[in-house]
C-alpha cells in the first residue's frame, strides 16, 4: 500500500465533505414541484441550495489543491460511483415527507457540530468554509426540528410514521462518526475534524428534540457502513449520478 501524501489527503477530505452536501442537496432538490405546500417546497429548495453551494466551495478547493487543471464540475459530474465518499445517510431515497425531515434533521444536527469544529481548522480555507456554513445549517436544523416535533407530537398516524422513518434511518447514523485514513492523517496537523468526538454532543441534541417530539431514540444496532471509507454505496446511488451526470456525459464540456 502506498503512503497517502498530505496533499492527496486534503483533496480527498475536501471532496468527501463536498460529496455529503452535493448528494443530500440533490436528493432534496428532487422535491421540487412535489412538496405538500409551497412554503415547504421553498424551504427545502433553500436548504438544498445552501448544501450544494457548500459542496461547490469544497470541490473548488479540492480542485485547486489537486492542481491538475480540474474544476468543481469534474468532481460533481465526471467521477464514478466508487469515487464518491458521501455518508450513506445522504443518498437513501427521500421516501415520504417524514423520512425527508428525519434525514435532514439527523444531518443538520451533525453538520452544525461538524462545521463549528471545522471553523477551527488550521487550514484557512476549510475554516472559512466552516464558518460560512454554520450560519446556513443552523436554519436547516431549526426548520427540520420544528417539523419533527410537529409530526412526532401530531396525530397517532404522523407519530407512528415518523418513528418508523427514524428507526429505519438510524442504521445509517453510525457512519457519521467514523474516520477515514485521510482524516486521521490530517487530524494530526489540526486540519481535519475528529468526528468521533462529535458523537456525545450529537446524541444530546438529537435526544432533546426527539423527547420534545415524543419519539423514542432507537437503539444503536449494527451500523451500515461502506461509502465514506471505501465508496461502497447503496443500490440507490447509481440512479442519482445517472440523473445528475447525464448532460455532462452526453455533451462533454457543455456549459450554461
Amino acid at each position: 500500500m502506498t503512503e497517502l501524501s498530505k496533499k492527496d489527503a486534503l483533496v480527498q477530505y475536501a471532496a468527501q465533505i463536498g460529496d455529503n452536501g452535493l448528494i443530500i442537496g440533490h436528493r432534496m432538490s428532487e422535491w421540487c414541484f412535489r412538496a405538500p405546500a409551497l412554503e415547504m417546497e421553498i424551504a427545502l429548495m433553500n436548504c438544498a441550495l445552501d448544501l450544494i453551494g457548500q459542496a461547490r466551495e469544497l470541490y473548488t478547493y479540492a480542485a485547486v489543491t489537486q492542481d491538475e487543471g480540474k474544476s468543481e464540475d469534474d468532481f460533481a459530474y465526471l467521477r464514478d460511483e466508487q469515487d464518491f465518499r458521501n455518508l450513506l445517510l445522504t443518498e437513501v431515497p427521500n421516501g415520504d415527507w417524514g423520512d425527508t425531515i428525519v434525514r435532514l434533521f439527523l444531518m443538520s444536527a451533525y453538520n452544525k457540530l461538524f462545521y463549528t469544529a471545522l471553523a477551527n481548522s488550521k487550514d484557512a480555507q476549510l475554516a472559512a468554509i466552516g464558518a460560512k456554513s454554520i450560519k446556513e445549517v443552523i436554519y436547516h436544523q431549526r426548520f427540520s426540528s420544528e417539523w419533527l416535533i410537529r409530526l412526532g407530537d401530531g396525530t397517532p398516524e404522523s407519530h407512528d410514521r415518523v418513528q418508523k422513518s427514524l428507526d429505519t434511518l438510524w442504521a445509517y447514523t453510525g457512519e457519521l462518526f467514523t474516520m477515514t485514513d485521510a482524516e486521521t492523517l490530517l487530524l494530526a496537523d489540526g486540519i481535519a475534524v475528529d468526528v468521533t468526538a462529535l458523537k456525545a454532543d450529537w446524541d444530546q441534541v438529537v435526544s432533546d428534540v426527539l423527547t420534545q417530539a415524543t419519539l423514542t431514540v432507537p437503539a444503536d444496532l449494527w451500523p451500515q457502513l461502506g461509502s465514506k471509507a471505501e465508496g461502497r454505496h447503496t443500490e440507490h446511488f447509481g440512479f442519482i449520478i445517472t440523473d445528475m451526470q447525464f448532460m455532462q456525459r452526453r455533451y462533454p464540456g457543455c456549459e450554461w
Binding site: 433553500n46 436548504c47 441550495l49 445552501d50 450544494i52 453551494g53 457548500q54 466551495e57 460560512k132 456554513s133
Partner: protein
C-alpha cells in the same frame, strides 16, 4: 493620472472604482448595488498590475454570484479598466451588518423589510419572534409565515394590519 499622486504604484483611483461598482446591481434586488449589500469588499492592485475586486458571497449557494462577477468585469472594462480580476473571499463570512444604511432604506422603499440587528422587544429573550415592521404600512403587528423565502437571503412575513405578505431580508 497626474505625476503628483503620492502613490505612484496605483494606476487607478479607488474612489472612482467604488463609484463605478455602484452601477452593478443585485439581479434579484435591482435597487441595491453590490456596494450597498456589502458584497464588494476590497478594491486593489494585484501583483500583476491588474485591478482586483474582492467580493464575498451572501450565501454559499447564491446563484447570483457568477452573474455579478461577469457584470463587475464588464462594467469596469466599459469604463476603461482592462482585464479586471474578481476574486471571492469567504472569510470573514458575509453578514447583514455590512449592508449600508442607505441600502437598508432603499430595500424598505422597494418593499422588502431590511434586516433588524437589535430589538427592544423583550419577548425575543424568551423565544418570541422579532417584530418586523411591514415595509408598506410600517405596522409591527406582523407574523412569520416561513423562515425561507423567494431567495436564500429572505424570509416570508405577513402584516396583520394591512394584511399584505412581504419579504424580510434575514439577519445573518
Amino acid at each position: 493620472m497626474t505625476d503628483s499622486m503620492t502613490t505612484p504604484a496605483k494606476n487607478f483611483d479607488p474612489a472612482a472604482v467604488w463609484a463605478i461598482l455602484e452601477a452593478v446591481k443585485d439581479p434579484e434586488i435591482p435597487v441595491l448595488s453590490i456596494v450597498d449589500l456589502g458584497i464588494a469588499r476590497e478594491v486593489k492592485d494585484n501583483e500583476d498590475g491588474h485591478l482586483e475586486i474582492v467580493i464575498s458571497p451572501t450565501y454559499s449557494g447564491c446563484p447570483a454570484m457568477y452573474m455579478l462577477e461577469e457584470q463587475i468585469k464588464e462594467t469596469l472594462i466599459h469604463h476603461g479598466y482592462p482585464d479586471p480580476i474578481v476574486t471571492t473571499s469567504l472569510s470573514p463570512a458575509w453578514t447583514t451588518d455590512w449592508m449600508t444604511e442607505s441600502g437598508k432604506q432603499k430595500l424598505e422603499a422597494y418593499g422588502i423589510a431590511p434586516p433588524e440587528k437589535t430589538t427592544s422587544n423583550k419577548s425575543v429573550l424568551f423565544g418570541g419572534q422579532k417584530k418586523i415592521a411591514c415595509p408598506r404600512c410600517k405596522s409591527e403587528n406582523s407574523e412569520q409565515i416561513s423562515e425561507f423565502g423567494s431567495t436564500a437571503c429572505k424570509a416570508l412575513y405577513r402584516c396583520l394590519d394591512c394584511l399584505e405578505p412581504f419579504d424580510y431580508f434575514k439577519c445573518i
